[in-house]
Subunit: 346 residues, 2 copies
């Protein structure tokens, strides 16, 4: 269905050894900077250089509405997606505050919000929200193709302006879509794949699991067939599908990407199903308080960097990790070596 | 022994309610910023205002040598403490790179390094390293008194220049002192309280536990007597004791302090034993990879903010948490409210 993009593996023993040699020459016990050291190694391998930089940062926030909101799965009304898109552009949302704070360039992409288009948002609209996946695929095959192509083209653009990218999202109802994708890609049971999202109660969480179970049964053949693109078209959202294309396109361009929380990780799940090497280019920013995110990260074999008990989305967790990258790269490039500092080695 | 400082409790239901009301008015699901929300609440209570700020940051790094290095407990030679002090001042050490990166003012305090005094370091020297606590108290009662007073006076100074302080340390041998304090204050067994420090092997870790067991037996009466100050004088270091005074003095001044890793947390253990309310003013930055730090945090009932598998000390973990505070305060003060943004509430 999708003509897949070629993503090279980042494996490079010489480069790995060069980065490790630099770390071990610096005035600190070997390995004592922990994750900061391994992050720079992965950055170096992703970008193919022993002197990686993260000065220029772009945050891409993908927004869309979801047909499955008709099932009453969210606490907030559907209009909130469009209202929040406006809030992003006006600078009052969490993600815009964080982008200002950490010197990140925000790009707000409307991939299919059920509202009039807003100037200031990048228009990649594929409709006014997906269809309700309980009784039909969320999107058509050609909408999925277009979403993936849009994402790849956005990654080509971002590559020109950024050393590192981050992805986030906004879309009332999209934890339900992400949970359904988690079930369809991994075989997880709906009751293990759901959580309170923006804050529904226990009865709401049970309803969400039941809605997903109904959808999985309705689309039983798609799940069994296990075609990654067809699963994404069936249960995904326009923002998740466009983000999936972005992750694939970024990796093909050797652009490292920081993935936000539960919904963004479901795009990583889709991208990995399409091209496993994409994982070498992805950093998982945080463990969301959304209950199933830990399990989703487990399914991805991913080790998140932060756990701040956040569950907001928008890219807020990914933004929080940017100073960690800044620090890691500054230490790696600016610390003195043992001979430079006249410090005895053990 | 020590004339104790008066530290007020931060409990204030009206202020707590005011901060929570502000968080819940902002355009996000209630509670969805997780730790960022609770950090601002604690900051507000510590500083006694509903508009806390963290713009001006000071990192105090306490340095000293340790008599217990005579027992062969460290991988690095004792001279490294003085060499690293020089490296701090020259700007090539991890902590100085991180302070530059995050706009933190460093203060390097020599509390008793076994080297000639360096200009640029704040001189609060109490000797050229402590005595070996295996066969005598690490310091005299009057040295401890002086260390505590020095720490309190430093906190008075820092209060004038900073909205938030952080503490770190440097001292070859000081994980052994911190582990001994953990045992003496909590009754933990030495084998549960030790770790590899800068990187000793399993045999070295066993030796360290045996050395501490020998010291605990030698000072059995001090441990049983359970006088917090006497325990600190017996097993502490000049940097740990001065830091303990700093934590007490900062709290008395309502100055929030970010505590670094294993050794800094042992100063928190000492400070809490002297005045329990000090805990209201302390933030525990990270879980160190030093094995026993999780247990020490457990003994402190403290929930660390980051886990980056770091084990360097110097204040490096505390520095990493400063952008988290910046972000939390920026979100709290700059995000739009629901009415301001025209977003529907649930």
């Amino acid at each position: 269905m999708i003509s897949l993009i070629n993503i090279p593996s980042t494996k490079n023993d010489l480069l790995t050894a060069a980065v490790l040699a630099r770390w071990n020459s610096l005035t600190k016990p070997p390995g004592s900077l922990g994750r900061l050291e391994s992050l720079v190694t992965q950055l170096a391998l992703a970008s193919g250089t022993a002197q990686p930089t993260v000065s220029r940062k772009t945050m891409v926030v993908f927004c869309a509405d979801h047909g499955v909101t008709a099932e009453g799965v969210s606490k907030y009304p559907r209009e909130v997606t469009g209202q929040m898109l406006h809030n992003f552009l006006a600078g009052g949302a969490a993600i815009t505050v964080l982008c200002r704070q950490f010197g990140i360039t925000p790009m707000i992409v409307d991939t299919g919000v059920d509202a009039e288009p807003l100037s200031g948002a990048i228009n990649r609209r594929l409709g006014r929200g997906t269809s309700n996946f309980c009784n039909q695929p969320a999107m058509t095959e050609s909408q999925l193709e277009q979403a993936i192509q849009n994402g790849i083209a956005l990654a080509d653009e971002v590559r020109e302006q950024a050393d590192i990218a981050a992805v986030g999202e906004m879309g009332i109802g999209n934890t339900t879509s992400a949970s359904a994708l988690l079930c369809a890609y991994t075989g997880m049971r709906p009751e293990d794949a759901v959580g309170p999202g923006t804050g529904i109660d226990a009865a709401g969480v049970s309803l969400k699991a039941a809605v997903i179970q109904r959808a999985l049964t309705f689309h039983k053949r798609v799940v069994e067939e296990a075609d990654p693109a067809k699963i994404l078209a069936t249960f995904g959202g326009f923002e998740i599908a466009t983000m999936t294309g972005f992750l694939l396109g970024a990796a093909a361009n050797r652009l490292p990407v920081v993935v936000d929380g539960f919904i963004s990780s479901s795009a990583a799940l889709a991208a990995r199903a399409m091209s496993a090497n994409v994982m070498d280019y992805l950093f998982f920013s945080h463990v969301s308080a959304e209950t199933a995110h830990k399990r989703m990260l487990g399914a991805l074999n991913a080790h998140a960097i932060l756990d701040l008990e956040m569950r907001l989305g928008e890219g807020s967790g990914a933004a929080m990790v940017m100073p960690v990258f800044d620090a890691a790269v500054a230490l790696y490039s600016q610390m003195a070596t043992f001979p430079e500092a006249g410090v005895s080695e053990s």
